[in-house]
Structures are given as C-alpha cells and as structure tokens.
C-alpha cells in the first residue's frame, strides 16, 4: 500500500482558513458543511498558555476503522493507497462509519450519503497537491508519499518533532503536525 501523508507545520500556520475555502471551492462542498476545518488549540496552565493552529481533516488512516465498519463496502481505499474514499452509490447513510471514526471527520451530505476529505485524489492523480495544500499562503502544508525517503513529507518528519492526532486509537493517522 502506498502511503500518502500530509504534514502541517503548526509553527507557520496562522489559522487563516484559506485551506477550508480552497476545499469548499475545489470540491463544491455545500454551505454549512466542511471537509476540513481549522482548530485553535490552547494548552497549558494560566498564564503559561500555548496556542497552535491546526488545519484538520480526515486522517486517511492506515488502519481506518470507518472502512472496517462500513457494511456495504461504500468506504474503500483508492488504488492501493491509504486514501479513504466513499462511493455515494453504495452508501446507505447508516452512520456506522460516523460512529467508528474517532476524529468525527465525516459529514452527511444534503443528499443523504456520507462524505469526507478525499485528499483531492482527482488532483493527486494528475500529480498535483490537494487544493488545501496548494492554496496555503504560509506554505505550512505539505503533501507526498511517505514511503519515499526523498519526499518532502519524509524529510520533514525525519528532521522535525511531530505528532499525529489520537495516535492512541491505533488507527495510524497519516496527517502529521510539526510542533
């Protein structure tokens, strides 16, 4: 399985929300729904607080519980990669994937089927970065193949401290945050 990963530098992210707008424009996500979002995370003990902005989305886990829970095989992996997609023609809207995702990264479209971030696989197919990565004004977002040691994402993860969200779930999320 080819592992695509997204690496986001929280030292550079300013929480502008351009990634959110780019996703909505590229994927025609209806008003009121989001495939990606920005989280302002404040941690610490007052007055010693630290704030970081995180552009979050589906983590395209290497072990995706949503995929395992889908009873109709509507959730599937794109072309032997970790990119998890949903086939609207197979999705009944039963909600099993929503209940199974620890990141609450899925959404219900107005038509009733479940949707989510696709890592813009239609752009990846053409050798392009996902829309959110391309539009980032601070260049804090990076995308590439993790299995390639010479890719930008591999080099960044090899050289910088990083974390993935809810690693303890065992889902092996593939969106990393440089800290």
């Amino acid at each position: 399985m080819i592992r695509y990963a997204m690496v986001i530098d929280t030292k550079l992210c300013i929480g502008c929300g351009d990634c959110v707008v780019a996703c909505k424009t590229e994927n025609k996500v209806p008003a009121g729904l989001n495939r990606d979002w920005v989280v302002e995370a404040t941690t610490g003990t007052y007055p010693n607080l630290k704030t970081e902005f995180r552009s979050e989305r589906c983590n395209h886990c290497a072990k995706p519980t949503c995929l395992y829970a889908c009873p109709t095989a509507a959730t599937y992996r794109w072309e032997d990669t970790n990119i998890v997609l949903v086939d609207p023609n197979k999705c009944t809207g039963c909600g099993a994937c929503i209940a199974a995702c620890p990141y609450d990264a899925r959404l219900i479209m107005n038509e009733g089927y479940v949707s989510k971030c696709t890592f813009c696989h239609h752009r990846v197919e053409q050798g392009l970065d996902p829309a959110c990565v391309s539009s980032c004004p601070t260049r804090c977002m990076h995308f590439g193949v993790l299995d390639d040691p010479n890719s930008t994402v591999s080099k960044l993860l090899a050289s910088r401290e990083h974390k993935a969200l809810l690693d303890e779930t065992g889902n092996e999320p593939q969106v990393y945050f440089l800290t």
């Binding site: 109709t72 209940a99 609450d104 219900i108």
Partner: protein, 331 residues
C-alpha cells in the same frame, strides 16, 4: 489546572457539537430486535421441552409478536437510513469486518426462524388468522411443514436468538470511537435485556397460572442479571482507558446522571425488581402488571442511554464558535 481548549468553526450537522447520527430509529430497532431474540429463545425452549400445552402463550402466540417486532425493527432501520435509495446495498456485499454487515445477513435468518415459529403456532394460537391461510393449498402446506419441523426450527431459533441479541450489543461494542458504548459486556447485557423484554411480554399476555408463575421467576432472574451486568459494565468502563473513564463520569455526576439513575435504573430496574421479588412470595396481584411494563420501559431506556451517551462520548471535544446566523449575511 492544565487544560486543553479546542476551538473550531466546524459545524457539520449531526456531527457537531456531538455525534448524533443514530437517533430513535436505531434505539427502537435495538429494542425490538432484542424482543424478537427473547421470543425466539423462549418459544424454542418451550417447544424443545415439549411444554406447548402448559405454556400456550409462549409456544403459540409469542412468535407473532416477535415477527411484528422484527418487521417494525426493519422498518425503523430503513427510516434511519439517510440515503434510502441504495438500501439494497446491504445485501450487495458481505463485509466480514463490519458488524452491521453480519447483522444484515443474520436478520434474514432470524426473520425466517420467527416466521416458521409463528406458522407452527398459528392454528393453536391465532385460529382466526390461520383459517384464511388454510384456505390456500400453499398456506396449508406451509402450516403443516412448520408444525412438522418445529423442533429442528426450535434448535436453530435458540442459536439464532442468542446470536442476534449478542449482535445488538456487539454493534455498540464495535464502535471503539464511542467509549461509553464500547464495553465488552454490552453483548451479554443486551442478551439479558432481550430475554427480560420477552419475559415481560409473556407476563402481560399469558393467562395460564403455571406460565405466569414461571415467567415471573424468569423475569426476576433476568432483571437481577441485568442489574449485575450493568454494574459490571460501569465498573469495566471506570477501569478502562481515559476516554472510557471520562464517559462513565457522565452518569456519575455528569450531564446524564439524572436521566440514568432517576429515569432508568430506579423505574426500569429497581422498582420491577422489588415488585417481582414481592411477587415471588405469593399470589400475583393485578397491580403488579406495572412491573413488566416498567421492564419494557427500562429495556428501551437502556438502549437509548447507550446510544446517546455513546455518541456524546468521544475522543474529541471541540468548543464550537460557528454562528449559522452569519450565513444569512452572505445571502
């Protein structure tokens, strides 16, 4: 105090601020499937014990209630689907890792089993319904066949009843992302609850003294088991991972405390337990009919709480700053 505050503008309907993808339809489905499972098991055990004459309601009338229950459950499940047009996709694939996929296929066997148990008891339990069926050659053949093979069907029904009741609990357990529902004890808890539900229906419907006496004992036993399993489930969660510990705190001082104790444990478990304990000592008074009704209420509430608290409990807790009124400014 060290804190982490996560603020976002994400506001996906039925996802934020808490997951609410499963509503009353799923809760009713779990309750009715539990009732059907109990009906399958009790009817089958009466047939296998050759006690049809002494336990007429259980042997001949209960299966139809189970059949109606499973029919309603399937209807509610269909109503829950937000993309109904492809509902048949449940039967277009079998996904071994998906508990719901197992359920979709197992329910077909359960429907067949409860239908056959209904047919074997139709002439004795519902003669008015059996007469029009008997007018057709196919109907007569089906009734004869179901009566002739009722023992093999009963054996299969016991197994299917246990499996399908376990399935309802396992469906909850399998959702690791919903910590409150993700206890390994959900399956036996839901099985016990399903049996208690069916026993309550027998107590409401049966008129034979022997049948009522036996099922008042069964009901008492099942409610005792249910209380014990519930206590163990809470203990299991309280000794679990951090998210499970946080989830169980919702019923120990948290936002679900009142609902859990005042509207479920006391009226749905402890009051019927006290009534049934009182009933075991002597004659069953008419006012005690409240007990099985409360057991039915408690069984529904159990599922309501597991589904609701399960969805509210999760790994993430975002403070949402999304203001939908701002959208109006764009129009």
């Amino acid at each position: 105090m060290r804190e982490e505050i996560l603020i976002t503008t994400r506001a996906n309907p039925k996802i934020d601020p808490n997951v609410a993808a499963w509503g009353w339809q799923v809760i009713a489905d779990l309750f009715l499937v539990g009732l059907t499972a109990g009906a399958l098991i009790f009817t089958a055990m009466v047939i296998l014990g050759r006690k049809e004459e002494n336990f007429g309601f259980t042997a001949k009338r209960l299966p139809l209630i189970g059949l109606i229950s499973i029919g309603l459950a399937m209807t509610f499940l269909f109503l829950k689907l937000t993309h109904k047009i492809v509902f048949w996709r449940f039967f277009g694939a079998f996904v071994p890792t998906a508990v719901m996929s197992w359920g979709a296929w197992l329910l077909q066997l359960v429907i067949l089993a409860i239908l056959l148990l209904t047919l074997q008891g139709l002439r004795g339990g519902y003669p008015a319904l059996a007469r029009p069926v008997d007018k057709f050659r196919l109907g007569t053949w089906a009734l004869d066949w179901a009566e002739r093979y009722r023992r093999p069907v009963a054996w299969a029904s016991v197994v299917l009843g246990v499996i399908i009741a376990f399935y309802t609990g396992t469906l909850m357990t399998s959702m690791d992302a919903r910590p409150f529902a993700s206890s390994g004890l959900m399956a036996p808890l839901f099985l016990t609850s399903g049996l208690a539900t069916a026993a309550a229906v027998v107590l409401i419907g049966a008129r034979a003294p022997e049948e009522r006496l036996l099922f008042s004992r069964v009901l008492f036993g099942m409610v005792v088991f249910k209380v014990l399993l519930l206590a163990l489930t809470l203990a299991n969660l309280a000794n679990g991972s951090q998210v499970q510990i946080e989830s169980v705190q919702m019923v120990f001082g948290g936002e679900y405390t009142r609902l859990f104790w005042l509207f479920f444990v006391i009226p749905g478990l402890l009051v019927p337990l006290a009534i049934e304990a009182f009933g075991l000592r002597g004659k069953r008074a008419s006012w005690m009919m409240i007990s099985p009704v409360l057991v039915l209420y408690g069984a529904y509430m159990l599922r309501q709480l597991v589904v609701d608290i399960g969805q509210v409990s999760g790994y993430l807790s975002y403070v949402n700053t999304y203001n939908p009124a701002l959208l109006d400014l764009l129009r």
